[in-house]
């Protein structure tokens, strides 16, 4: 059932794009990945909106947490007042959950559509729609090479003067693009450095790129192309949809290499939305400091975005 509903449609879409794009599997994969990201834009935009909302609420949340340390019920009430609702946050995560089957289906269809082994060929034969590919035999074998790469094998380039060790070019790009996307999607935490959430963010910033890099090292390089395209599309989408929220800076790497890097340090502070943050009030009997007045937001001029 999984194959019929998810994997086979993606496999056939990949093969159709392969035919349309001059028998380039890489081009087909890139177009399919971008197409899927585009279709998922309404979902991902909602998710990103929730993230931004969270980011904007962080100072208020922090203040309320400090103020009502020993009064969880009161804290909950105050958090609800400013518009922080864990159930709504769950709603923000649901789009991510909905994307999982699609991501896994695409991944399997990549392996399916480039049959590099007899077993995969058997599976592909059963998965291709005969009405869509009446001359399927002419497509075989699917061209799975791109420059030096065999898309069905993990990517390594061997230099003639150093043939012992292969250089994993695509996995390096997977790590870099995942790092940039991760940095972009993880706004700077206003919590203190020992806060569990901040620690987790820092830990994920390191582990996620390494983990996807590890997958890219182990699995077919077609998957690396999918990861890279998906990351770049995600970065582009986020940068476009939130062009007033951050600036691009540069991350200097050894060897004079600089990487485009989301730079939140120069970002003007976001203006809290009036319908989310209630006007500052002193709680009855409260002894805490009143919340800081929100600073006016800079105008969304062209030069303010990405």
């Amino acid at each position: 059932m999984w194959s019929q509903l998810i994997v086979y449609p993606f496999t056939n879409a990949l093969l159709l794009l392969y035919v349309w794009l001059g028998h380039s599997f890489t081009a087909a994969l890139i177009v399919l990945t971008v197409g899927i990201r585009a279709l998922l834009t309404p979902l991902t935009a909602r998710q990103q909106k929730t993230q931004i909302q969270m980011q904007e609420l962080q100072p208020e949340i922090k203040r309320i947490q400090e103020k009502y340390k020993g009064e969880p019920e009161k804290m909950q009430k105050e958090l609800l007042k400013i518009g922080y609702n864990p159930a709504a946050m769950l709603g923000g995560c649901l789009p991510t959950l909905i994307q999982f089957p699609i991501l896994i289906g695409v991944y399997q269809s990549i392996l399916n559509a480039i049959p590099s082994t007899p077993l995969q060929m058997m599976d592909l034969y059963h998965g291709v729609y005969p009405w869509l590919f009446p001359n399927f035999n002419s497509l075989l074998p699917v061209n799975r090479y791109l420059i030096w790469m065999d898309l069905t094998q993990p990517d390594r380039i061997y230099l003639p003067w150093f043939p012992i060790l292969g250089i994993p070019i695509l996995p390096i790009f997977v790590v870099l693009t995942t790092l940039v996307q991760q940095k972009m999607m993880t706004p700077p935490s206003t919590a203190d450095a020992n806060d569990a959430s901040a620690q987790m963010q820092r830990s994920m910033m390191t582990t996620m790129p390494l983990m996807f890099g590890f997958f890219a090292l182990q699995f077919a390089s077609g998957l690396s192309i999918y990861f890279i395209t998906s990351n770049l599309a995600g970065i582009g989408q986020y940068a476009f949809l939130n062009r007033a929220k951050f600036r691009w800076g540069k991350l200097s790497l050894p060897g004079g290499i600089s990487l485009p890097w989301p730079d939140y340090t120069t970002k003007p502070p976001a203006k809290p939305r009036p319908n989310v943050v209630p006007p500052p009030t002193n709680p009855p009997g409260g002894s805490g400091n009143p919340p800081a007045k929100p600073k006016p937001r800079k105008s969304r001029g062209r030069g303010d975005g990405a």
């Binding site: 947490q65 864990p86 995560c93 994307q99 007899p118 035999n137 065999d150 963010q201 996620m208």
Partner: protein, 365 residues
């Protein structure tokens, strides 16, 4: 007291981590082909992912195995062993060719593919006249049967999934790039080459002056061995992957749409066709007047060879949903069937009824 909010922004990466784990979990198993068997000198030689087994064809007892213990460096043996005078030649997906002693399974020599671009590659094997023809990836090599030294090599346009069909003077090499090449067996020089509408994934059948070539298109071709020209073409419903079975006057073969064909050997006209329960990948087996085919979805069919009418059929192991992708072997009143994903690697069924005589490995209590 700190209040935890399970879906705060800082925790969303956990969901991405979960996705990554799911992706890893969905990755394919390492098997690339399927176990394959050959019958030689009263023993079934079975190449399976972990080892090559020599199994007594009558009792099902293990005679020897190679290697003695599982060795991941040798993983995985999935190409039918080739028998050549006093050597059994086996190939591993780890790009190794090994020669074993037929009586003991002791390694005589090994050849390691120098190409480092890939960790594994599709392999195919055949052997004749003191030479082993080992195709690893896109390179076919003729190896000296005595010591494993390369005698000559031939580069294909794509991978060699089917082993060459061999004769003393010429070998016929199928390639996934749709081409069939006739090479001088001693020097490797190209004699002729021709293209087909589909990829060639199986060894052609060689009989007298004709080659019978199944293609991943919808046809079986009979071609002249001297120039590669068509003698006849028989169109089919599905792809023809297996090597056809050629007798004095007939050719039997199956296709991936589950149709079994019997055609006239001299002109390719259809004598009968029968429908199997699933894709027929391997070569049919013939013993007396019974023709046996196995299917990708685990069925075994015994047909009357002269008419195609069914004698019996069974599902080998419904519990484990066996995939039967290798060619069955019919001999000694038994039908030997190697399986892809079942509880047992090899079954021996009685040809008359399909009753299981023995299976390997046996169940240990």
């Amino acid at each position: 007291m700190r209040t935890k909010y399970p879906f705060s922004a800082g925790r969303q990466p956990v969901i991405a981590l979960l996705a990554a784990v799911l992706l890893a979990g969905c990755s394919r198993a390492t098997a690339t082909v399927w176990p394959a068997a050959t019958l030689h000198d009263g023993k079934v030689l079975l190449a399976s992912p972990q080892a090559v087994y020599a199994i007594d064809a009558t009792s099902g007892a293990q005679v020897w195995r190679f290697p003695l213990e599982n060795n991941n460096d040798l993983h995985a043996f999935e190409t039918a062993p080739a028998v050549n005078a006093d050597r059994i030649i086996v190939a591993s997906g780890a790009k190794l060719v090994l020669a074993l002693d037929p009586a003991t399974g002791v390694e005589a020599w090994r050849y390691s593919d120098p190409n480092q671009l890939t960790k594994t590659a599709a392999v195919s094997m055949s052997a004749a006249d003191g030479r082993s023809y080992s195709a690893i990836g896109t390179t076919l090599r003729a190896l000296d049967n005595e010591n494993g030294k390369v005698l000559w090599q031939f580069a294909g346009g794509d991978e060699f999934w089917g082993a060459p069909a061999t004769s003393t003077a010429t070998i016929y090499v199928p390639n996934m790039d749709h081409k069939l090449s006739a090479l001088d067996a001693v020097t490797g020089a190209l004699r002729w080459e021709r293209s087909f509408p589909g990829a060639l994934a199986a060894t052609p059948a060689l009989a007298d002056a004709a080659l019978y070539v199944g293609t991943l298109s919808r046809a079986l071709y009979a071609v002249n061995t001297s120039n590669g020209k068509d003698i006849w073409v028989h169109e089919t419903q599905g792809f023809v992957w297996g090597t056809p079975l050629v007798t004095a006057d007939r050719v039997y073969f199956g296709d991936l749409d589950g149709i079994v064909y019997c055609v006239n050997r001299s002109n390719g006209t259809e004598i009968w066709r029968a429908t199997a329960a699933g894709s027929v990948r391997g070569t049919p087996a013939l013993d007396g007047d019974k023709l046996f085919v196995v299917t990708d979805n685990g069925f075994v069919h015994a047909l009357n060879a002269s008419s195609g009418t069914p004698a019996w059929q069974l599902e080998l192991d419904p519990k484990n949903a066996e995939r039967l992708l290798d060619s069955p072997i019919a001999a000694n009143g038994l039908l030997y069937i190697s399986t892809y994903n079942g509880e047992h690697l090899l079954y021996a069924l009685l040809q008359d009824s399909g009753t299981t005589s023995w299976f390997f490995p046996p169940v240990t209590k």
